[in-house]
């Protein structure tokens, strides 16, 4: 009763994170929200099995992840990232400064193997501890660490290539310079909207 109320309140508080996790896993925002809602429904039904005092966020992420993979096995949930759709998504974001470079990041993420992608999302994007991520993914902490580090290196390569391709098409710039261009944009962003946020994470 009161427990249910508290649980519900905590569950509601976890929704933005569930959505962010889902959005990072499947590229289509509508599918992602469907997934997040299904995970919410499951979490609510399974509320008896939630251990009070543990992280409800980690628990719901685990549910969402299981849901994601079981549906992925059944049908196919992740849409290949459609550039036009992704642009629309970015434009639909109220943030007028929504940077196109995020599209590149999503594209690059989509190329990673699932287990590397999810590890990097949980730790690198969601700011979870390795231990928590390991718990969510049902594997050893060391495994998560190595997946995250492989994912980071792979992203670096993919982004450098993307930068090189783009720039070769436009101007004649070596890959390293291209990556630095992308970096400068990222740094400019961090100097603006990003910085204050980085502090409270």
């Amino acid at each position: 009763m009161t427990d249910d109320k508290t649980f519900q309140k905590d569950l509601v508080a976890a929704i933005p994170h569930l959505r962010a996790f889902a959005r990072s896993l499947c590229n289509d925002p509508t599918m992602a929200d469907d997934l997040a809602q299904e995970a919410l429904a499951k979490a609510w039904k399974a509320r008896e099995s939630f251990e009070a005092g543990t992280s409800i966020k980690a628990w719901t992420f685990m549910i969402l992840r299981n849901q994601f993979y079981s549906e992925k096995r059944r049908s196919w949930r992740t849409a290949p990232l459609d550039v036009e759709m992704a642009e629309n998504t970015l434009l639909a974001n109220d943030d007028p400064t929504a940077p196109m470079e995020l599209l590149e990041l999503r594209n690059a993420l989509a190329k990673l193997p699932d287990e590397q992608k999810e590890a990097l999302i949980l730790v690198g994007a969601g700011g979870m501890a390795y231990e928590e991520a390991a718990q969510i993914c049902g594997c050893a902490v060391g495994t998560i660490k190595s997946r995250v580090s492989r994912a980071r290196r792979a992203l670096e390569v993919i982004l450098a290539e993307a930068g090189s391709r783009k720039n070769n098409a436009e101007r004649d710039i070596p890959a390293d310079k291209a990556f630095d261009d992308i970096l400068e944009q990222a740094n400019a962003l961090a100097g603006g909207s990003g910085r204050s946020r980085a502090r409270d994470v």
Binding site: D4, L40, E161
Partner: protein
């Protein structure tokens, strides 16, 4: 899909400070990607759903909340 990993330019080893700088940038963008969604208003669907869950799930005489915690509209 196209599994053409590592064009030689891109996979060329870079010095440690460059690698660190790149990783910093990637880290920042990853967090930004995630935080952008966290900061979005939660679609009201989500709240409606919880309200229904409350009605269906709370079969022990508790009355559902009349308002499922509406998010402020845009």
């Amino acid at each position: 899909m196209a599994k053409e990993e590592s064009g030689d330019q891109a996979s060329k080893p870079v010095d440690a400070p460059t690698a660190r700088r790149r990783q910093d940038a990637i880290g920042r963008r990853l967090r930004q990607m995630y935080e952008d969604v966290v900061r979005e208003d939660v679609p009201t669907d989500f709240m409606k759903f919880l309200q229904e869950a409350d009605e269906r799930g709370g079969g022990q005489g508790q009355s559902p909340k009349p308002n499922g915690g509406k998010t402020p509209g845009k």
